[in-house]
């Protein structure tokens, strides 16, 4: 979902940057507030930051599609840390990737934060909360949260790309064309991301149920 440097026209790049920054700023405020209240929450942020960074630059081959892509990791961080802090750690991961790993770009940083950080984190968080509210099993809720966070991220990337590059052509046909092009790779990878998310939520629940209670996850 990384939109490379220079792909978006400057006005669109600026717009996504303006959209992303308040979320990242609020994430920083939440991180400071929570850290002042309880220091024991920091290691969880450390684990999640590392997980999001590694997962979102780990190319997984999909031979049936002949391409490779990566999960996002924002479903799990959205569930465990809340969407605001999840957006902040995603922004940091995307900045490092844009600077040193030739993944994404500085001008498209805002667009990438919005698709992976904002939409991915909120999609994962709300899906998990909604499914848990109707007493759905934790593993299933985690799976669906990871799956929808991944697919929502790629839908947003398609919308950002279509709106930025379309010129005079209509938006919707190009948007669907891009969504369909993503499908062969992202459908199976979304399922994989769901499985990873579900596994991590269940594992943390077994190992540190007190932490999940403290974070309001359960």
């Amino acid at each position: 979902m990384h939109i490379s440097e220079g792909i978006l026209p400057w006005n669109w790049a600026l717009l996504w940057f303006v959209v992303a920054m308040p979320f990242a700023g609020y994430g920083l405020y939440r991180l400071k507030k929570l850290s002042n209240e309880d220091l024991s929450f920091k290691p969880l942020v450390g684990v999640m930051a590392a997980v999001v960074f590694i997962i979102s630059c780990m190319p997984i081959p999909v031979p049936t599609a002949g391409t490779c892509s990566h999960p996002c990791g924002t479903g799990i961080s959205g569930i465990l840390l809340g969407p605001a802090i999840s957006i902040l750690i995603t922004a940091a991961a995307l900045l490092i990737q844009a600077l040193f790993l030739a993944h994404g770009g500085l001008s498209t940083w805002g667009a990438d934060i919005v698709s992976m950080g904002v939409v991915g984190s909120f999609a994962g968080y709300f899906t998990f909360k909604a499914l848990r509210a109707v007493k759905i099993n934790m593993a299933v809720a985690g799976f669906m949260a990871g799956l929808l966070a991944d697919w929502a991220t790629y839908l947003t990337t398609s919308a950002e790309l279509a709106s930025g590059i379309r010129g005079d052509s209509p938006f919707l046909p190009l948007f669907w064309k891009i969504v369909i092009a993503f499908m062969p790779t992202q459908l199976p990878l979304g399922i994989l991301e769901g499985a990873i998310t579900s596994g991590m939520v269940v594992l943390l629940y077994k190992k540190r149920p007190d932490l999940l209670v403290k974070m309001g996850v359960v």
């Binding site: 440097e5 792909i7 190319p59």
Partner: protein
């Protein structure tokens, strides 16, 4: 001495299997769907698998007259990118393991305090 019947044990095993059978069925279905993605034998792809950033994002951008620019720090040269990825993975993996250990040692400290 009273000899225990094998029936309760078998019944327990059957009930346990029945309760888990839905979960297993879902896992099996997921595996069947994702297996071709990880089994090289099922590959129908060319030798090199480009990322979707190239095959989708950059392809459609090019079709609409937008080209990707060289990144500010271009590490995509020869095996440099591979090395940077390896380095990033090592540092990220170390950080994940380090903080995970702290998380788990907190649990041990807490249970010791409770005792």
């Amino acid at each position: 001495m009273k000899v225990q019947s094998e029936k309760p044990a078998l019944e327990c095993l059957y009930r346990g299997f029945k309760a888990q059978s839905w979960g297993r069925a879902v896992l099996a279905a997921l595996f069947l769907y994702t297996a071709p993605c990880i089994l090289p034998a099922a590959s129908t792809a060319a030798d090199k698998w480009p990322g979707v950033d190239e095959t989708v994002v950059e392809k459609y951008a090019k079709e609409h007259g937008r080209q990707a620019r060289e990144p500010l720090i271009n590490t995509d040269q020869g095996d440099l990118l591979l090395f940077v990825f390896l380095l990033a993975g090592t540092i990220g993996g170390f950080a994940a393991g380090y903080y995970w250990r702290i998380l788990m040692s907190e649990k041990v400290k807490k249970t010791e305090k409770e005792k």
